[in-house]
């Protein structure tokens, strides 16, 4: 079943939320990874998920992209429930871009083919049009001369930028970024963060899991602190980082500060 969605960037009037999670739960057997997540992301908003490893950030993102089925609760994209039975997950995913920690570029394809695979095969875009789109995006993010290269010839930072472009080429209404800088050498992190900043300033709605607290403080509209599969606290960065209300948030931020990461 196809779900008709308004074009990217145009929120439907009766549902202002780009993304809405209601009491989302996810369990693997008896292990509860997400224990009732409520989260609303407005159009053009950038929400950062912070929290220790294993707090459920990645699982949350994978659930939103329907790569993992939720155990309970509902997720709506622009007011349409995508966790309803009968929803075609392949169609939903064409509206949501996701970028992984480990890039996951297709090693047997050139950079250009990596980017055009989705548009050409899933969206049935004519090859010439997809190539042009890919070249425009590569130029926009400073990779114009890399179109013909295979991923293993690129640095980690370049590979991650290509992965971002691959997701953007689908013209997603929502981007999910899962610790996209965690696997990078420190000197390559900045170039990827710059791409995210550019996307944020261009109005892209984003939900991102990150360990880069300074970056979260700069770019986020709101920051959500996750622990044990729950959102402990969610607030604009100026509040959450400066005046955390919850004891658990305070403890986490103190540890991060002690480690010199904030």
């Amino acid at each position: 079943m196809s779900i008709p969605l308004p074009p990217y960037g145009a929120p439907s009037p009766d549902s202002p939320a780009a993304l809405e999670l209601r009491q989302v739960r996810k369990s693997y057997g008896s292990h509860d990874v997400l224990r009732g997540i409520d989260l609303t992301v407005a159009p053009h908003e950038v929400v950062c998920l912070i929290g220790a490893s294993g707090s459920g950030k990645s699982t949350l993102l994978r659930c939103v992209n329907l790569l993992e089925p939720v155990t309970a609760g509902s997720i709506s994209l622009s007011g349409q429930e995508i966790t309803a039975p009968g929803v075609n997950a392949d169609l939903v995913r064409r509206h949501i871009g996701i970028v992984f920690q480990s890039f996951n570029l297709f090693p047997h394809m050139t950079v250009l083919r990596n980017i055009t695979l989705g548009p050409v095969k899933a969206q049935k875009m004519p090859r010439a049009e997809a190539d042009q789109l890919a070249r425009d995006l590569l130029a926009r993010f400073g990779l114009a001369d890399r179109a013909g290269d295979y991923p293993d010839r690129l640095s980690g930072g370049q590979q991650q930028r290509v992965a971002m472009i691959r997701a953007l080429a689908m013209s997603p209404r929502l981007m999910l970024l899962d610790e996209v800088t965690s696997a990078l050498d420190p000197d390559l992190v900045a170039e990827v963060l710059d791409v995210i900043r550019e996307l944020a300033s261009s109005g892209m709605t984003m939900l991102l899991a990150t360990h880069e607290m300074n970056f979260a403080r700069d770019v986020a509209s709101r920051v959500a602190f996750l622990a044990d599969g729950e959102i402990v606290e969610i607030a604009p960065p100026a509040d959450l980082f400066v005046r955390p209300q919850q004891e658990r948030t305070q403890r986490f931020l103190r540890r991060v500060t002690d480690a010199g990461r904030l």
């Binding site: 392949d90 064409r94 996951n104 095969k121 899933a122 293993d152």
Partner: protein, 293 residues
């Protein structure tokens, strides 16, 4: 470019030891080869039955006659008969690739709807990997004609032989395909699905191309084996190389024809074997290059 000792060891074992024109190493390996060959030749030539063996297996006129054949004297040309082996191999190979891929995809499928097919595929692989190829050849070659059906029961022995080889080898090659599919990281599936590809599209454009790359060497290995196993079809009476050699030896009472058949099979299999080695070496080199920063 200077090579570090590490670079040299990375190349793996080589036929001639050492690199860079080490005359001493070449001289040593030549000498040891000569000695080994001389000892084996001496053992062969000095054995009490040597003259008898040379006459029975390596008689030049018989080698020649069995190679070119003489229908008037009741035996066939092995040189012509091997052409049937080649044709059986080529036809079987294509069907095996297609059938094995279908089997592998069915076995890899998830989803409850596919369960019956999955069970059938699993049983198929278990049975045909477990039964000796020659028994499958007997079963197909004598079973299908006995059914007395149109078309199905009226084929020549070579056709039944090919069917049997396809049935038997597809089970092996299916498992090779599966190993290749499983070797592709699961994250690649996630990446493919996240750009909106369906399960089938992910398989077609992302998983299989990567899987095939890793399985080409083991696949060719199975095909070398298949080239030889075409000789088993002789039990059905089709005049392929092994059968032609058998007829010659039964007519003339000389086994040189088997040596001819063996040499012809070697001429077929050795190039494929070395092509496989070459691919493995190239893949290894490419992986090492890819691992460099």
């Amino acid at each position: 470019m200077a090579e570090s000792p590490l670079d040299l060891t990375r190349r793996g074992p080589r036929l001639l030891g050492g690199g860079g024109g080490q005359t001493r190493a070449v001289a040593l390996s030549t000498a040891s080869t000569v000695v080994v060959v001389a000892v084996i030749a001496a053992l062969f030539l000095l054995a009490p039955g040597s003259a008898q063996v040379r006459h029975t297996f390596f008689s030049p006129p018989d080698l020649w006659h069995s190679l070119i054949g003489d229908p008037a004297k009741g035996y066939y040309s092995i040189g012509a008969a091997i052409w049937l082996n080649i044709r059986m191999f080529l036809v079987a190979e294509v069907f095996i690739l297609v059938f094995a891929l279908v089997l592998a995809i069915v076995r890899q499928s998830t989803g409850p709807v596919m369960l019956p097919l999955r069970v059938v595929a699993l049983l198929y692989v278990d049975v045909f990997r477990g039964v000796p190829t020659i028994l499958v050849i007997y079963a197909v070659g004598f079973g299908l004609p006995a059914l007395d059906l149109n078309v199905v029961s009226t084929q020549g022995p070579a056709v039944y032989g090919v069917i049997a080889l396809v049935l038997s080898y597809s089970a092996y090659v299916c498992e090779v395909f599966r190993a290749g599919i499983n070797a592709v990281p699961l994250a690649q599936v996630g990446a493919a699905r996240s750009v909106g590809l369906t399960q089938a599209q992910s398989m077609r454009y992302v998983i299989l191309p990567q899987a095939v790359r890793t399985i080409i060497p083991p696949l060719l290995n199975d095909f070398i084996s298949l080239q030889k196993d075409t000789a088993l079809v002789s039990v059905l009476g089709s005049i392929e190389a092994n059968r032609a050699a058998e007829i010659y030896s039964a007519t003339v009472f000389n086994y040189s024809s088997y040596v001819v058949a063996a040499v012809l099979f070697l001429i077929l299999t050795i190039p494929l074997a070395h092509f496989t080695d070459h691919l493995i070496a190239r893949d290894r080199a490419r992986r090492l290059a890819g691992a460099a920063p």
